[in-house]
């Protein structure tokens, strides 16, 4: 998988060298082209992880972006309008994530999404305490995170 | 023209300090490095002085950029003789420190800082660039902060706070002055500044800038009403440190005042009057303080203030004779003040205190050493023909020449007070019988049990400086030639400017 990633990078650089313009956009284009070519050529191979994961990463990124914008708008609306519709609270969230990197990424994305913020991780690394701005129902909130961010993240990382 | 000899006195101390840092935690090695290095530095200083005295002003343009663009180092007779005198005091204190400074202090960087301080002093003397001078001053004050607090107990720390606050304030004034100076001239090179300030029509701005320098350097050289940090702190650090402070530190402020006010701002009536008024009050303030103090170092601190007034007065009068007198006094003072503080340290070693009420019997216990100290103490007073006597002739003459009778009177009062307090000191510390020490653990003779070698390490520097003092006194002719030469250089800055900027 690392091999494929390096290969893809090499292709991207080759592209840059060929076209002779060291712009970022050009590099990205080279990378995308390289990915496509590798995907085409590797269809018969066993190991598809690299080709599965890259779209998943992009998917996760898009999902995150969607959440970000949605929540931002929600919060921004609440901020600029005179009345508050908030129901803030701190929720204990039992994680599936176990390794440090998983916990870190999970908490980062949760925190980055407006309306939710990690306050702390328990000592035994099983539970996240999340400050939530619009807490309608605790279970529903936990489920939303579980199906949303955590599942997608763990899919990429595991 | 370009000659690296100038920078060697600076570089030597820099390398000594760095080398000592590499020997962190090894006290003996640092001691040896320091003493050997100080000897080398002295040789360098002598070489520099000889070269300047024989061959005229030396300059070095650091980084090889022609004059107003790089940083110039200039060694004229003034700066090279300051370097020379500082190297004497430096060597003496370095030797004294071998036994005189507690081992713990040496283990925590005493020697590197000490040499950084000497480096800073030499740098300040030799710099020909006003901002570079600021940097040297900062090197000096941070080094002095550290020396002042090194291993400090309560009183020392308290003194340091005041010392620090007022010195940083001084730096702020100095820096502000530099800012304004750059704002009106666009240059930092002192020779260039001399020309540009001379050509400036706005005398008001020049005076205002000058005031910032008066205050900045005035604080550092402990001029009334800016002197407060000095008596608050000089009685607290270890004696070796106090010796450097008393002998060299305030003098670098004086040096800067002389340099700036003879090269860049030529004193007009306003500045001249101001300096003279300050001088009179400085002398009197020092006098009043010294008369009432019972602790040797507190007393000496006020004497420093008092004598600073003499020099500032000389600068204020700004005639060749006056400058000669002030410079002569400066030279004498650098050596003697270092020595009296070393002596104070030795006294404390012998009795564990500097409180004159608790002291006594030194003449009976150490007759020869006492006589040695007497010579130094009476040199400080200026008993003729010892060193402090000669400059007063010039100062009196200058005072009479331009009718500054009040200043002359102040100098007489100051001299009289010095005589009185030193005689009192002698009577109560050396003549008086040792009062009962009781079983105070502080009041013990730590000198007697020392080995002969260690004793000699404490006494040699005092003898060394005493010999120099005697030379200044008895060889006044030679010193007179040097200071007259400097005074002429100060009155006619053309050679300096030409040496830096080239002739055109």
């Amino acid at each position: 998988m690392v091999k494929q990633f390096l290969m893809n990078l090499l292709l991207a650089f080759t592209w840059v060298a060929l076209t002779g313009t060291l712009y970022f956009s050009n590099f990205l284009f080279g990378y995308a082209t390289g990915f496509f070519l590798m995907w085409v050529m590797n269809r018969n191979e066993q190991d598809h992880r690299y080709f599965n994961r890259v779209p998943k990463i992009i998917g996760f990124f898009l999902y995150f972006l969607y959440q970000l914008i949605r929540a931002n708008i929600q919060v921004a609306y609440d901020i600029v309008t005179p009345n508050f519709y908030m129901r803030p609270g701190i929720v204990k969230y039992p994680m599936n994530a176990r390794s440090e990197i998983e916990i870190n990424l999970l908490s980062t994305v949760i925190s980055l999404t407006p309306g939710t913020l990690i306050i702390d991780v328990s000592e035994d690394q099983k539970v996240l305490y999340i400050h939530v701005m619009y807490l309608k129902d605790k279970e529903q909130f936990i489920q939303q995170i579980k199906d949303g961010f955590e599942r997608r993240l763990l899919e990429i990382l595991r | 023209m370009t000659d690296n000899t100038i920078i060697f006195p600076v570089i030597t101390h820099l390398f000594i300090a760095i080398l000592s840092l590499f020997f962190w935690g090894k006290a003996t090695a640092q001691r040896i490095i320091s003493v050997v290095g100080s000897v080398i530095a002295m040789v360098m200083a002598i070489a520099l002085f000889a070269e300047v005295w024989n061959g005229g002003i030396l300059t070095m343009q650091a980084a090889n950029w022609e004059a107003p663009f790089g940083i110039s180092f200039v060694a004229d007779v003034f700066s090279s003789s300051m370097v020379l005198l500082a190297s004497f005091s430096g060597l003496a204190v370095s030797i004294y420190s071998v036994t005189g400074v507690a081992r713990s202090r040496i283990l925590y960087g005493y020697f590197p800082i000490f040499h950084f301080l000497l480096m800073g002093l030499n740098g300040a003397f030799l710099s020909g660039d006003i901002f570079n001078l600021y940097v040297w001053f900062e090197v000096i004050i941070i080094a002095s902060f550290v020396l002042m607090t090194l291993g400090g107990r309560k009183a020392q720390i308290e003194g340091s706070v005041k010392y620090m606050a007022m010195n940083i304030l001084a730096s702020a004034f100095f820096l502000t002055g530099i800012g304004i100076l750059y704002g009106i001239t666009g240059t930092l090179n002192m020779a260039d500044l001399s020309l540009k300030i001379g050509a400036l029509e706005n005398q008001k701005l020049v005076d205002i800038t000058a005031i910032f320098f008066v205050i900045g350097f005035g604080i550092k050289s402990a001029v009334f009403p800016l002197y407060f940090w000095l008596p608050s702190s000089y009685h607290t650090p270890p004696s070796a440190v106090a010796a450097v402070f008393g002998g060299l530190l305030t003098k670098v402020g004086i040096y800067a005042l002389f340099r700036v006010f003879t090269l860049i701002f030529i004193p007009d009536d306003f500045i001249s009057t101001l300096l003279i008024i300050l001088a009179v009050f400085t002398v009197l303030t020092g006098t009043f303080g010294a008369v009432i103090k019972n602790n040797i170092r507190r007393l000496l601190s006020y004497l420093i203030v008092c004598h600073i007034g003499f020099m500032i007065g000389g600068l204020g009068m700004y005639s060749e004779v006056a400058l000669t007198g002030a410079l002569f006094y400066l030279f004498h003072d650098m050596v003697v003040k270092t020595n009296v503080f070393l002596i104070a340290g030795l006294i404390r070693k012998m009795r564990g205190t500097m409180n004159m009420d608790k002291l006594g019997g030194l003449y009976a216990a150490y007759p020869l050493l006492s006589l040695l100290m007497a010579i130094v103490l009476f040199s400080l007073v200026g008993i003729p023909p010892l060193s402090g006597f000669w400059p007063k002739i010039y100062l009196f003459e200058a005072g009479f020449m331009d009718g500054h009778y009040v200043l002359v009177a102040a100098i007489i009062i100051g001299s009289f007070a010095t005589l009185y307090v030193i005689a009192k000191l002698w009577a109560s510390v050396f003549w008086k019988n040792q009062p009962d020490m009781g079983d105070d653990p502080v009041l013990t003779d730590d000198f007697k049990p020392l080995s002969k070698f260690r004793k000699s390490l404490l006494v040699t520097p005092i003898i060394f400086l005493a010999v120099i003092t005697l030379y200044i006194g008895l060889g006044a002719e030679n010193i007179g030639l040097v200071v007259k030469h400097i005074a002429r250089e100060m009155k006619d800055t053309t050679p300096y400017i030409e040496a830096v900027l080239g002739t055109n």
Partner: protein, 769 residues
């Protein structure tokens, strides 16, 4: 000559290493020094008496006009012989007097030093050289008076003596410098040439004032006389030598020496007559109340010095001759009396004249000596004292400037008292009935009684044969003073005239006084009731109050409160800058090319100001720190807007590190308390804002000036081409002005070491320094 002058100095230095061998009878040998010198100076008598002078010049500090110029003329020869002659006797005497003293070597060391200094004073032909030796006499006498340094009184007396003579010394020095400055030379001979110029100078009175101050303090003139009785704490040989025969006469010598330069005017005459007159009368009167032999002698010495000053003040040829005679007369009998007193003290253990009597039985040779000295001091015919007294009266009677009657009356009264004092010291202890306590006394070693005998006999010898001293010594001395030869030989017999009558009256009244008045403790107590009026007492008061003032001044100024100091410093700055800013030209703003203002600058500026307000007023330390860092960040933004990226980067990082540092340090500290009251805060605000306003105004003034970009243009042009860098600021830092950077990192290094040691170093209890 140089060796002669410095011999004492050299010998005194030799005592330091070799003094310890100086024990017992060997000490006599040290007298070889003064004896040899005496012989040396005596060899000049023929030449001097023929009106010659001897000049010796050795270069020393030519640039200052100070050279080792010595001149031997009548006056200096007289003094040189006195110094070495009496010196010889004192040396001999002391070798026995202080035989068992553990610090005999020191004693001779100081004494030799003193002798050298004294010779220097009288032989110098250069005022500054004279002054150098003058001060050396003060210092060596300081050591001699304080010789018994374990006695508190002795220390105090030496301190007082040094303070008075030393203080006068500085004034004298100023006077000399003034004279030298005006006449263009420090050589006395050359000053004599320009004496008219000096006397007509507007600074002439000042000159005299300064010189007189030196002379009066040294010669114990009223009101500075009090140090001399105190100086009697010294061992008796020293009193004899310094405080009767030699040092105290240095002031008189000085007046005599500069008489040809400055003397002869009203400014000269009146002060000297008045001061000398008061001194002689006052001390003579005081001397009769003393009961301590040395006290009597001390006061009579002061009186004699007054007489001398008085005579020099009169300033006629006669009076100057009288002065030179009286110098010799007084030296001889007073030294003798002192040495005798020393023996009495040594043998009986007391100097109380009320308890001493009949000693002629046990100390017969001394009784003779004392008697002869008393006679000389009384001025009986055929003593040298008689000639002296005659000359004095003659001088006072024949003065042309001032009232002869008054002056003569003064002189007569003084002499009556002096006579009484002389008899009291020389006669009283030896006459009457010997108290049984002193019956067992033996005559001391001959070294102790021969010298006073010799002096007394000399007094008689000169009295009988005045010519012995006259042409050889006294005439040339007086001639040196008035700068021309004198031709009036000394005579024993002047015939029956007013002078003789006065002498007789003096004698009779003095004798009567001696017979009817007995010294008593009660008398002393009576006179001491008026002590609060005495100059000594007044001076003590002055010293007390000036110390009190000094303490108050120092305490007030140096109160220990940092903020007070800073307040003063800033006030000083504000006053100076404000004064200079508002005088000489208007303060206006002439904008030549202002950069445009934009929103973000205003926002940043506004934030900056509010944050500063917050930092200043908050009661939470942390808020203050946060605010401080915001201030730093805002300034960074300004740096960004005004094209200083390097600066902004550095300030950002450093500001943050400072905050981190603060934070690490602060967490134990309690919140701020508002210590100061409203009024103090208002006052501080006023001061601070005036300072801020002044700085702003100055900035505006500077902005009005045109600016010269030459240096920065040079940097811009050469940064890449010559220094191979494109970030000019960095090129400046590592190349153009790299030296700054080099030593700025040294500052950092020192700070780090300082922090390290400040927190880690803990001195052991045994480590005091």
């Amino acid at each position: 000559m140089l060796i002669a002058v410095l011999a004492g100095l050299i010998v005194s230095i030799l005592y330091i290493p070799f003094g310890k061998y100086l024990k017992g009878r060997l000490a006599v040998l040290v007298a070889l020094l003064p004896i040899g010198l005496f012989a040396y100076f005596a060899s000049f008598i023929p030449m001097i008496s023929n009106g010659g002078n001897a000049d010796y010049q050795y270069p020393w500090v030519p640039s200052l006009g100070i050279n080792l110029d010595f001149r031997l003329d009548g006056l200096s020869l007289l003094f040189s012989l006195l110094i070495t002659g009496i010196g010889s006797l004192v040396y001999l005497y002391a070798s026995s007097y202080l035989k068992a003293h553990p610090y005999l070597d020191r004693f001779y060391g100081y004494l030799s030093l003193f002798m050298a200094a004294m010779l220097g004073v009288v032989l110098s032909d250069n005022v500054l050289l004279l002054f150098i030796f003058w001060e050396l006499t003060s210092i060596s006498s300081f050591f001699l008076i304080g010789f018994n340094n374990d006695s508190a009184e002795s220390r105090k007396s030496s301190l007082v003596a040094l303070a008075v003579t030393g203080g006068g010394g500085f004034l004298l020095m100023a006077g000399f410098v003034l004279m030298g400055h005006l006449s263009g030379s420090y050589s006395i001979q050359e000053m004599v040439q320009s004496n008219e110029f000096l006397k007509n100078n507007s600074l002439y009175p000042l000159m005299l004032l300064l010189v007189f101050a030196g002379a009066f303090t040294k010669s114990a003139q009223f009101p500075f006389h009090f140090w001399l009785p105190g100086a009697m704490k010294a061992p008796t040989p020293i009193s004899a030598y310094l405080h009767s025969a030699t040092m105290v006469k240095a002031g008189v010598y000085l007046l005599a020496r500069i008489y040809p330069v400055l003397g002869g005017t009203d400014y000269w005459t009146y002060p000297l007559i008045i001061v000398g007159g008061i001194t002689m009368l006052y001390s003579a009167f005081h001397s009769i109340f003393r009961t301590d032999l040395k006290g009597i002698l001390a006061y009579s010495t002061i009186s004699a010095l007054g007489v001398l000053v008085f005579l020099i003040g009169i300033g006629t040829a006669q009076s100057l001759l009288a002065a030179s005679v009286f110098i010799l007369v007084h030296a001889l009998y007073k030294a003798a009396l002192f040495l005798i007193t020393g023996v009495i003290d040594h043998e009986t253990g007391t100097r109380d004249v009320t308890r001493l009597a009949g000693l002629h039985k046990v100390l017969p040779p001394l009784a003779v000596g004392g008697f002869l000295a008393a006679l000389s001091s009384a001025g009986l015919p055929f003593t040298f004292g008689f000639i002296g007294k005659d000359l004095i009266y003659e001088a006072t009677l024949n003065t042309d400037s001032v009232m002869p009657t008054i002056l003569t009356t003064l002189a007569v009264i003084t002499n009556i008292f002096l006579l009484y004092a002389g008899l009291l010291a020389g006669l009283k202890p030896f006459t009457g009935r010997l108290p049984t306590a002193y019956a067992g006394i033996h005559l001391p070693h001959w070294l102790m009684w021969i010298p006073p005998m010799l002096l007394s006999l000399l007094g008689i010898a000169f009295g009988a044969f005045p010519a012995l001293a006259d042409t050889a010594l006294l005439n040339p001395a007086a001639a040196a003073m008035i700068n021309k030869p004198i031709d009036s030989p000394l005579k024993i017999w002047h015939g029956f005239n007013l002078v003789l009558l006065l002498s007789t009256v003096t004698l009779i009244l003095g004798a009567v006084l001696y017979l009817i008045r007995k010294p008593s403790a009660g008398g002393l107590a009576r006179i001491e009731r008026f002590d609060y009026l005495s100059p000594r007492h007044l001076l003590t008061k002055i010293v007390y109050y000036s110390k009190k003032f000094s303490a108050r001044y120092t305490q007030t100024l140096h109160s220990g409160f940092l903020r007070v100091y800073i307040f003063r410093i800033v006030t000083f700055a504000v006053l100076l800058l404000g004064f200079r800013l508002l005088t000489g030209g208007p303060v206006w703003f002439t904008p030549n090319h202002l950069s445009p203002i934009s929103v973000y600058e205003v926002v940043v500026g506004g934030i900056l100001i509010v944050t500063i307000y917050l930092a200043v007023t908050t009661l939470s330390r942390l808020t203050a720190v946060v605010a401080t860092s915001v201030i730093g960040y805002c300034i960074c933004l300004l740096f960004v807007f005004y094209s200083a990226p390097d600066l902004a980067m550095t300030q950002f990082t450093i500001d943050t590190l400072t905050v981190v540092l603060f934070v690490l340090v602060l967490f134990r500290l309690p919140p701020f308390l508002n210590f100061t009251n409203r009024l103090a805060r208002m006052r501080d605000w006023l001061l601070a804002s005036s300072f801020g306003a002044i700085v702003s105004l100055i900035a505006v003034q500077v902005l009005n000036q045109p600016f010269d970009h030459a240096v920065s243009r040079f940097y811009g042009e050469n940064a890449y081409l010559l220094a191979k860098g494109k970030n000019v600021v960095n090129v400046i830092l590592v190349d153009f002005r790299g030296v700054d950077t080099m030593f700025e990192i040294v500052v950092l290094a020192i700070a780090a070491i300082g922090v390290f040691s400040l927190l880690k170093l803990k001195l052991k209890a045994s480590e005091k320094e």
